[in-house]
Symmetry: C2
Subunit: 428 residues, 2 copies
């Protein structure tokens, strides 16, 4: 039995692109883990009619569950509880106990704001305590309570707040409510597997899928190019496990070590694992055009202080000799954007920080600064240890942000190669 769900994300600020929706993707992942098939994510503004129409649409599509995010705040443009009550044909009333609990939270936060008025905050708390008759209340994580609203002839609606920091902790409480427990008991289990490939065009994968003697009928395969990598995501019922195994073998046979992940792990995770060892390998960065993003990406992960010693952002030409020991003569002779300077940056970062691995990055992120010989998007990167060095001169497509981001991805892959080679050398 398939359980299908639809998500409605509310908020003019999301619809208008002012803020990005993080809840659709997160909920999607949670639902997949529970064997629920997600059909649609609909983003609507703060117009009640549009929200109502999208609920009606999802109900008409035969959804077993609708999840809303957002529109539970204290301001007048937050209308979700009201619209869902109307959709489920349940009258709305203030829950006085809930109002007090919300007020207790709001009152604690008052100190954080200069001259916030009690009266305004009281009115907000009362609005946030409006509950459709018979709904299950999910206790607030921020100030907004969530709701599970069950109507007579419509699918149950799980009403969650918009801030991801509130929505995510509320999710497990929602799963524990009787309406959702009953629904999820009906859901089957779907497997989801992800392979990641670097340096392969999408059309080559398409050809493999067309031509290889594979049973693909029971596999839902999606391929996408993302940050320069090709991701192959496959969803299937457990009975199709053998079909997936054949697909995986065919992809690995065809593309070899360009398939860098078979378990969905990202190159960042793989590199972090390799650096953590044991033994731990430390790393330091000297970067120019990425301006700190390489070090920022390496330190994204909790626990990265175990292996990241630090970095230097040598944005000006004067900074390259001063902070990474790049000889000024070298810059003068071959130019700041050159494989030689990238190598000197990597070696300099390693020496200055006393790290096991050094990373050097120098390039032209654009939009200005390109020349016919060294166009925008040309980036020289190098990763080095005392024993080994891998250099690449990249020519990256796209605008400034893309060039900077793709550079960090390319360096992650070089790090992976360097660390795997080092491990092999050690084992030999």
């Amino acid at each position: 039995v398939t359980v299908r769900a639809g998500i409605v994300v509310t908020g003019t600020e999301v619809l208008s692109g002012i803020i990005r929706d993080e809840n659709g993707p997160w909920l999607s992942e949670q639902l997949r883990g529970l064997g629920v098939t997600l059909s649609d994510v609909i983003v609507v503004g703060d117009r009640p009619d549009d929200l109502h129409a999208s609920l009606d649409f999802l109900a008409a599509q035969g959804m077993d569950l609708i999840i809303t995010s957002g529109g539970l705040g204290p301001t007048a443009d937050d209308l979700t509880a009201e619209v869902v009550a109307s959709f489920a044909q349940r009258p709305l009333a203030v829950d006085p106990d809930l109002e007090e609990r919300v007020w207790a939270i709001v009152a604690r936060m008052r100190g954080r704001w200069r001259d916030a008025s009690e009266e305004g905050m009281r009115a907000g708390a009362r609005k946030q305590a409006l509950v459709p008759e018979g709904a299950v209340v999910l206790e607030p994580v921020g100030t907004a309570p969530g709701l599970v609203v069950v109507g007579d002839s419509v699918p149950p609606v799980l009403v969650l707040p918009g801030p991801p920091g509130e929505l995510q902790p509320m999710w497990s409480a929602a799963l524990d409510t009787p309406p959702l427990r009953a629904l999820l008991a009906r859901a089957g289990v779907l497997e989801q597997r992800i392979m990641r490939v670097t340096g392969v065009p999408e059309s080559e994968l398409a050809r493999l899928l067309r031509e290889a003697p594979l049973e693909l009928g029971r596999l839902e395969i999606t391929t996408c190019l993302r940050r320069g990598e090709l991701e192959i995501a496959t969803v299937f019922e457990p009975a199709a496990d053998g079909d997936y195994a054949s697909l995986e073998s065919a992809v690995v046979d065809r593309f070899g070590d360009r398939v860098f992940s078979r378990d969905g792990s990202t190159v960042d995770e793989i590199v972090a694992g390799l650096l953590l060892g044991p033994p731990v390998t430390t790393v330091a960065v000297a970067e120019s055009c990425t301006g700190g993003l390489m070090a920022g990406r390496l330190t994204d992960r909790a626990g990265s202080s175990a292996y990241v010693l630090g970095g230097v952002v040598v944005y000006s030409n004067e900074a390259k000799p001063a902070f990474a020991d790049v000889p000024a003569e070298l810059i003068a002779s071959v130019g700041a954007v050159s494989p030689e300077v990238a190598a000197a940056l990597a070696d300099g970062a390693r020496a200055r920080f006393g790290a096991g691995v050094g990373i050097g990055i120098t390039g032209i992120a654009g939009p200005d600064g390109g020349t016919p010989e060294k166009p925008v998007g040309m980036v020289c990167v190098c990763v080095s240890t005392a024993a080994e060095r891998i250099e690449r001169t990249l020519q990256l497509p796209g605008g400034r942000a893309t060039v900077r981001d793709r550079t960090t991805t390319a360096v992650m892959h070089l790090l992976r190669r360097l660390l795997l080679a080092g491990g092999a050398a050690e084992a030999a």
Copy 2:
């Protein structure tokens, strides 16, 4: 006359949250500029029935225009042209000239990939040249052509490719097609204004809107908290210009200099403008817990090399004395996370790089490393010039990524204050 549009974003990889949709927000902004009201953004997977149902829904909602993004690639899961042809009841056929143009592009790209086969790429080009009868073809930017499909009893559908780098350049060509020109001629003009406020709770703004003697009926006001700032976006017809002016005055009267932007400019833009002067003020960073993100944020902007000299990521305690002249005794006596060390980092960055402004950041991003005295989320920041210094000890909510990101926002606001004060001093 209001012209209404809906957007359908296709792709299981977007629906499942593997990649983020950038096209909905971008198209939303373009439509707003043209006076078109966007009602819904619907994300569906690569199931043809779901795409068809969402087109039917938007048509039933009375949309004047539907825009799709994605599903135009060479692989079998790319089905948009086929589904839109069925929706508009137009037969689909290969356009042989278009096929040759697509093939010419694909053939040029072949060299980028190891062992890509001509046959696979040929089949892909043929698929991408399938055009519904009577549709206007938009020339490919990548390899995928776009389409404007006009049916008899359905709204026109603008079919665009998924990659933002292809969709965005194709947009102006799309606006220049007869069906879209006709439609846009009917659209009115809507004004959009944005104010940005820091340090004000949403409920206080709500109270102001409730209590102030303002005419708000013709203003569509949306407020949202974003990266710790409050954004007030208002859309209105030109006739309501005076109402908006009154709203703006009321907000500025009430919140004073916490209203840091009245023209929608971001704090990043404001700081960049202040640094550019004239005269130019240079800046350098010494950062610990943000791990490069502060320098990365400062260098996000094209032209930032005019004022960013560089930075050091002093992630380890040994790096702080070595790269930013923080006395080791100071770290030993007051701890690495302290206002004193933040100030020493700012001064050290300034001195080492010879910059006009130094930024120092040290804190506990979590999830580990917190203590009762110095909990996760405590971050000490400092911005300094030779003459002035502003320090703050922040206690930020949220997880590691949020703490790191909010820290950079807080520093941007301190930079703004420091630079405005400097400017005032100069003028005096």
